[in-house]
Amino acid sequence: MGRLGERLAALRERGEGALIPFVTAGDPDLETTEALIPALVDAGADAVEIGVPFSDPLGDGPTIQRASERALRSGTSLRRVLELVKNLRPRVDVPLVLMGYANCLYTMGEENFAIAAQSAGVDGIIVVDLPPEEGESLFAAVRGRDIDPVLLAAPTTTSERLARLARETRGFLYCVALTGVTGARGTLDLGIEETVKRVRASSDVPVCVGFGVSKPEHAARIAEFADGVVVGSALIDRIAAAPSPTAAVDAAAEFVASLKAPLRASGGAAAIR
């Protein structure tokens, strides 16, 4: 089991919900991201999703689109994101997961990417536009380097397919909370609880829920039935609104702490098992 699986298993054991913040690497520049991630971990992040910016993020709403544009403008590339992980690794002991789009990984080359990601210390990857049917060889390449390919499941996913995704994912299954692109939403779509229950029916794999999650109340509610919560756009909105990089780090850390607080007391997914 990789660092990601171990971490989620330990949290489930303790009855604690996992908080996984998402930040786009290089937004507004890589120096800020390098300061930001350890601060998020200190504030209670159990793992961090690091967005690799792409020119055409068709699974993302306006917040992450704009974060990607800012990151690309500041010269961020997949190679530089891997350097970022390498720099962070000695200082950060939580799992670090890259999230991005297939074209960047394929352009580097499957095997080249797997080798570089392992040497940087990447624990997992999430590729938005790469279902398992198409990802077979890339996922095999990264698994061979002890990196978890985390698969996504959606509210539209059939039960039969959910069982397959739960079987083939590594680390955790990322359940998308809504039918739509990423982005903060005022209310939580509770249809997700049913999706997670369908996963639980066939599998023991940790389930984390993301997309649209924007408030501590959302996180608390999700922790009643899932192992963890991913928060991206709502965090990026706070970073983008801050008047300076230092203020951005402070605002992000404060927000992460507020999201994590209810998860400590939640009883977590263990409560339903």
Binding site: F54, S55, D56, P57, L58, G59, D60, G61, Q65, L72, S77, L78, R79, Y101, A102, N103, C104, L105, Y106, T107, M108, V128, D129, L130, P131, E133, E134, L151, L152, A153, A154, P155, T156, T157, T158, R161, L165, V176, T179, G180, V181
Partner: protein
């Protein structure tokens, strides 16, 4: 030879289905519905009826006498410009909108570059009583203002896309985002032989009518099939529609003409086959314009319909195995060809189609005199007239 995708939509190493998980079930359903509905007698006869009485098919195969004598071979033009809405796009859209109706979808979305696909979709939706929303890049709404107005006149809601390069690529991103969000009620009517499986196959099948008619017509007129087929390629639906029914005819050369923009060396072009690399965009693996970090760089073409950084996966495949050839024509050459065809034949071509004419002017003179060439005139040029007028005026003032 057979050019058919495998069961998961792969043409060799290209094609496939690279989409967010939310869309997987919808694509499965579309694939299933297409196989079940589109080949039924009821659907076929309804679609054939519409293609005939509404879209004006069969379109003529016209022997272009001035072009033939000027270029030194027999040149026919397949007159898709005479189809309803002024381009071949209607063939695909009538098929897809009918499919959407059979599937019980009430809302149709589309992306558009030049606006021809958007107009065709708005038209079909008006005809069939479907709600229509079209995504169009801001840059394209400016250079194709007439088509924007036509879509609105037809009752469609047009969303102006101001992200990225503000062209077809970004309109496609936005249409995909809409579909991810509204997938349960919405049919995504893709305008070319691109996108995730089954779209490249489905759109090709609906466009094959171009090649099937051409085969019948040329046999009637000349008693033999052509030596050369030529068509412009952006996503590549008009070219694929013409080429596909002839793929097994070894003697038929097929030439796709991409947009060379300001020249392949300039970095400002739309030649995904001529200058692209393998990669993944908009749900498919194909050839595309991508830098060494995997970022897509904006295409450029004088013609909004060819201003796209990738190409349909079956074209990438046919290029790879050498069954079809792909060349390119620059903005300047296309502009010259636009004027040339207008004067020579009294036919004002779309700037997209003018790329095929431009290459024909260079290439056909190298053929034997008895060669038989069919060029797909994919659309008419009314929509381009304001832009061409400006460009020609700019040219004249440069000369003085």
């Amino acid at each position: 030879m057979k050019s058919e995708a495998d069961s998961r939509g792969h043409f060799g190493e290209y094609g496939g289905r690279f989409v967010p998980e939310t869309l997987t079930t919808a694509l499965d359903q579309l694939e299933e519905a297409y196989a079940r509905i589109a080949f039924s007698d009821e659907f076929r006869s309804e679609l054939d009826g519409l293609l005939h009485s509404y879209a004006g098919r069969p379109t003529p195969l016209y022997c272009a006498r001035s072009l033939s004598s000027d270029l030194g071979a027999t040149v026919y033009l397949k007159r898709e410009d005479l189809a309803h809405t002024g381009a071949h796009k209607i063939n695909n859209v009538l098929g897809q909108c009918l499919l959407a109706r059979y599937m019980g979808k009430t809302r149709v979305i589309a992306e558009t570059g030049a606006g021809q696909h958007g107009v065709a979709t708005a038209t079909s939706c008006a005809l069939m009583g479907l709600q229509c929303e079209v995504y169009m890049g801001e840059h394209d709404t400016q250079r194709q203002a007439l088509n924007l107005f036509r879509m609105e006149l037809l009752g469609a809601r047009v969303h102006t896309v101001s992200s990225g390069s503000r062209t077809l690529k970004d309109a496609t991103n936005e249409a995909m985002r809409d579909w991810v969000t509204n997938v349960r009620t919405t049919y995504y009517c893709i305008g070319s032989v691109m996108g995730p499986h089954p779209y490249p196959t489905l759109v090709r099948d609906f466009q094959r009518v171009i090649g099937l008619e051409t085969r019948r017509q040329i046999l009637d007129l000349e008693g033999r099939i052509p030596d050369v087929l030529m068509a412009c390629v952006g996503g590549g639906s008009n070219a694929m529609g013409l080429f596909h029914p002839f793929l097994d005819d070894d003697g038929v050369r097929m030439i796709g003409v991409e947009a060379a923009g300001e020249g392949l060396d300039s970095g400002r072009h739309g030649a995904a086959i001529g200058a692209g690399v393998p990669g993944v965009l908009h749900g498919m693996r194909s050839l595309l314009l991508s830098d060494d970090d995997g970022q897509i760089f904006p295409a450029h073409s004088i013609s909004a319909g060819l201003d796209y950084p990738s190409v349909g996966p079956e074209h990438a495949y046919l290029a790879g195995i050498g069954r079809a050839e792909y060349v390119s024509a620059t903005d300047e050459e296309a502009l010259d060809a636009f004027v040339y065809l207008s004067r020579a034949e009294g036919i004002i071509p779309a700037l997209e189609s003018a790329h095929a004419i431009a290459h024909a002017r260079k290439f056909v003179p190298s053929l034997p005199k008895d060669a038989l060439v069919v060029i797909n005139l994919s659309g008419r040029g009314d929509k381009d007239a304001p832009l061409v007028r400006e460009l020609l005026a700019a040219r004249r003032s440069e000369k003085h």
